[in-house]
């Protein structure tokens, strides 16, 4: 068949050439068309999750990044910079102790993004509105009532003395415009353009849920000064690609994994480190024999080398845990916290004091081998394995298994476990201690059998004097570390890299209630 021979090479060639031609076309077109004219200054922030909800108070997702996106549009009475509380909507404030009330003097040159003047009426309205529709991050019962003294003065009566009032309420509750929200009955479904009218330095120009992108435009009438960039963009880039995007100059800032930090520094990017806000803990079932014994729990603490745990399981990118829970880098940290430095001999001694005897490799009591069950979610597999090895080295047999996270939570909640590993954030403000020591739920140690500790916890929440409160928080750490209802294992390091065009900083005690993200809107104003 002669015709076959002539046709074959042609088809073969076509098969190879067609895709090649397509690739070339695409390349040429895109390479030519990639240049974009940019007349305005813009700043792009990379995020691997992307979508954090519509940036309005009732529709952003209840995680830190959701609040941050909202905080460029909506403001609070007070705010924080890198060292302390600073004026926001309120330019001055005063605490009236006998009435347990705060008087806030408001800025008189603030306008909402639609041009309407901001007044004390908006603040009063916000606190009244949250009584019906509570804002997800603020306990609306803490403010008894709000009263406008004049057009730019507002008085908030507290329902009880509450030390973290600025952190948890005045610095977190976004103020919403009365003229818009007074007609909104279902705030969770309010997602039109009116829902993003705030007083902040930026207005929302676009939000895309599926692409996880946000576009903000500067609000030129902002009362604290002209915003530093005209356009602010949040774009979604997968975690592994953020460093490349930073290096290629596609984005100005983004969070980077610890392993990549030195490479980022070589690329002349600025690295900033978050103050430690999160801890992983060994959760102990203190309701159950033998873990109900304080000495036994202390033996566990002596047996685990937290410094090498950090070296091995976190490759050094963390701070070893302090048994008092507050990180040593925190202002609230008590320097005298019992540390339980690694001492396997001391651990064995404590166990022997509890009538355990070492037979073969493991401790026994009344002929029964000492064996504990350790359960954890898969993310803590390495840590769990390390803890198992360390405890077995002193003679406590460990049955370690990783389970689906929900199952772990449910079993911890039902006290159906011996040991577990769990992590939580919020360590900037000592009110977290109440939530995770005596609070309810699986994420709390639910340890309420030490009356002194209970009283101290309660007292620190209502102590309005900062120095005296610190004294109480110190005592809490001492007792907590002594009783060890749970043991903090480590505080991971978190990093952001940026190109230095905006001086990003970590907010003192975190943004609002304590968000460890260096995207304080003040960095984009000054």
């Amino acid at each position: 068949m002669p015709q076959l021979k002539t046709r074959m090479p042609f088809r073969k060639a076509l098969l190879i050439l067609l895709p090649l031609a397509l690739v070339c076309c695409l390349l040429v077109i895109f390479y030519g068309g990639r240049e974009q004219p940019s007349e305005s200054i813009s700043y792009t922030i990379a995020d691997s999750t992307g979508d954090w909800g519509y940036p309005s108070p009732y529709t952003h997702y209840s995680r830190g990044p959701g609040y941050v996106r909202m905080s460029f549009i909506f403001e609070t009475l007070v705010w924080k910079d890198d060292s302390s509380f600073v004026p926001a909507l309120a330019k001055d404030w005063e605490y009236v102790e006998e009435e347990n009330a705060y008087i806030f003097e408001l800025h008189d040159n603030v306008t909402w993004h639609d041009g309407t003047n901001f007044t004390a009426g908006d603040v009063v309205f916000t606190f009244e509105y949250t009584k019906q529709h509570s804002y997800q991050w603020v306990d609306s019962s803490l403010v008894e009532s709000a009263e406008a003294i004049d057009e730019y003065t507002v008085k908030l009566y507290l329902s009880q003395p509450y030390a973290p009032f600025f952190q948890s309420v005045a610095g977190t509750q976004p103020i919403i415009p009365k003229h818009i929200w007074q007609n909104v009955t279902e705030p969770e479904k309010f997602t039109d353009a009116q829902a993003v009218i705030g007083t902040g330095p930026y207005t929302l120009a676009d939000y895309s849920q599926e692409h996880g992108t946000y576009l903000y435009k500067a609000y030129s009438d902002y009362y604290l000064g002209k915003p530093a960039v005209d356009e602010l963009k949040f774009v979604k880039i997968s975690e592994a690609m953020i460093p490349s995007a930073l290096e290629q100059g596609l984005v100005n800032a983004g969070d980077v994994p610890p392993e990549i930090v030195s490479a980022m520094e070589e690329a002349e990017l600025t690295i900033i480190t978050a103050p430690h806000a999160w801890n992983a803990k060994l959760v102990i079932n203190h309701q159950k024999e033998p873990l109900s014994s304080k000495q036994f729990r202390q033996a566990l603490a002596y047996a685990i080398n937290r410094t090498s745990l950090v070296e091995i399981t976190q490759r050094g990118h963390a701070l070893a845990g302090s048994p008092g829970m507050m990180p040593p880098t925190s202002d609230w940290y008590y320097p005298g916290t019992p540390q339980y430095e690694y001492d396997p001999a001391r651990a064995k001694q404590l166990l022997e004091g509890l009538n355990y005897t070492l037979e073969n490799d493991y401790f026994t009591k009344d002929g029964e081998e000492l064996e504990l069950e350790l359960i954890a979610a898969a993310e803590f597999e390495e840590v769990g394995q390390f803890v198992k090895d360390q405890l077995e080295a002193v003679g406590i047999k460990i049955d370690f298994s990783t389970l689906e996270a929900k199952t772990v939570d449910a079993r911890v909640e039902a006290w159906d476990f011996d040991l577990s590993i769990y992590g939580h954030g919020g360590l900037y403000e000592p009110s977290i201690l109440n939530k995770v020591i005596v609070g309810k739920g699986f994420n709390s140690a639910r340890y309420d059998s030490n009356q002194t500790l209970n009283q101290l916890l309660e007292a620190q929440l209502s102590e309005m004097d900062a120095e005296e409160r610190k004294e109480l928080v110190w005592q809490i750490q001492e007792i907590y570390a002594e009783d060890l209802p749970a043991l903090t294992l480590y505080y991971p390091n978190w990093y952001w890299a940026h190109d230095g065009s905006i001086d990003l900083f970590y907010t003192k005690d975190g943004i609002a209630i304590g968000i460890p993200i260096p995207l304080n809107r003040l960095a984009f104003v000054r």
Binding site: Y54, Y61, E210, H211, S238, K406
Partner: protein
């Protein structure tokens, strides 16, 4: 008709599973249905409302009734993480998955068929051997691995293609430029998926060709003096298509989540990526919604395959 009944039974079975699974999880079923977000978002009134809506205080069969009723009304549930209905979240992602996986499936199937037929026609030739070896080698890689290789080569090192996403955000592009931007972002994930799928759709027609070519009617066709191309595609090729259709049908069903890994690698906003995000956030309503859609699309794809069989090969009609 009997066929339709089989499908209905399968569909009901899937619905039952989808209904039962979250209720069998440990802990509060409401928490299991709504995930962790509910912990934060749920006020007592809302909780009461949800318990009523899902009839959670009723016996199981009444709960099932409430579940079916909601489904009939197009209500796939409410995601507390996204603070919107599951159907709207899923529908937002569906077009991107269809674009990516649909295109990959079409290209890989067509290319696979043509290459397979060509390869099988001259089995043992050098071209056949080299095609077989190279396609098998490429398809042997997991799709995400190919994706990572392409990404590191073309995006990180040579900076020819974008690092992630489906469009350049806020580039101000429109019209043809926007279409090209979408294609630019589509290229690498599409290549990864196509290369992975092509092996399967190449092997089947190739193997069938080998058997089909032994049949007397091929000899007959050749003897009639028909051009080679006609014998190859019309006589032999058509018969080699059947298994490919089956396989494409199966792949079509998995289309919705088939690109999960590739979508994660390229942060492509499709259903696979949504599934991944929902898993991380433990957003059970979204997971269930995706599961249901996958299950239904598998059923529909199978049904379509059944239909197309009898069109392609009339013998099937007499088989029953």
């Amino acid at each position: 008709m009997r066929n339709v009944i089989t499908y209905v039974i399968a569909f009901l079975f899937i619905l039952t599973l989808n209904f039962l699974l979250p209720r069998m999880l440990p802990g509060d079923p409401l928490m299991a249905i709504y995930g962790n977000e509910a912990l934060i978002a749920m006020t007592p009134e809302l909780k009461a409302h949800l318990v009523e809506r899902f009839a959670l205080d009723q016996p199981l069969w009444q709960q099932f009734g409430a579940y079916l009723l909601a489904l009939v009304q197009g209500d796939l549930g409410h995601s507390y993480y996204y603070n919107s209905s599951v159907s709207s979240v899923v529908l937002g992602r569906l077009p991107w998955t269809l674009l990516l996986v649909g295109t990959a499936l079409i290209i890989s199937t067509l290319l696979g068929i043509v290459l397979g037929i060509e390869s099988g026609w001259r089995r043992g030739s050098r071209r056949d051997k080299s095609l077989l070896t190279s396609l098998m080698a490429v398809s042997g890689f997991p799709d995400f691995f190919l994706g990572i290789l392409l990404l590191i080569g073309f995006s990180v090192t040579w900076k020819i293609f974008p690092l992630s996403g489906a469009i350049t955000p806020y580039s101000g592009l429109s019209g043809a430029a926007l279409v090209l931007d979408v294609l630019h972002h589509l290229f690498l994930p599409l290549t990864a998926l196509t290369l992975c799928h092509i092996g399967a759709s190449y092997l089947l027609p190739r193997n069938t060709m080998v058997t089909v070519l032994k049949n007397p009617y091929i000899l007959m066709a050749k003897a009639k003096g028909l051009p080679d191309r006609v014998v190859r595609y019309k006589h032999a090729g058509r018969n080699a298509l059947l298994p490919v259709i089956t396989q494409t049908g199966i792949q079509l069903g998995r289309m919705v989540t088939g690109a999960l890994f590739v979508e994660i690698v390229f942060a492509y906003p499709g259903l696979g990526y949504l599934t991944y995000e929902a898993l991380l956030a433990r957003d059970y309503p979204v997971l269930q919604g995706v599961l249901l859609i996958v299950a239904v699309s598998v059923l529909i794809a199978n049904f379509l395959v059944d239909l197309s069989y009898s069109k392609l090969d009339p013998r099937i009609r007499y088989a029953h």
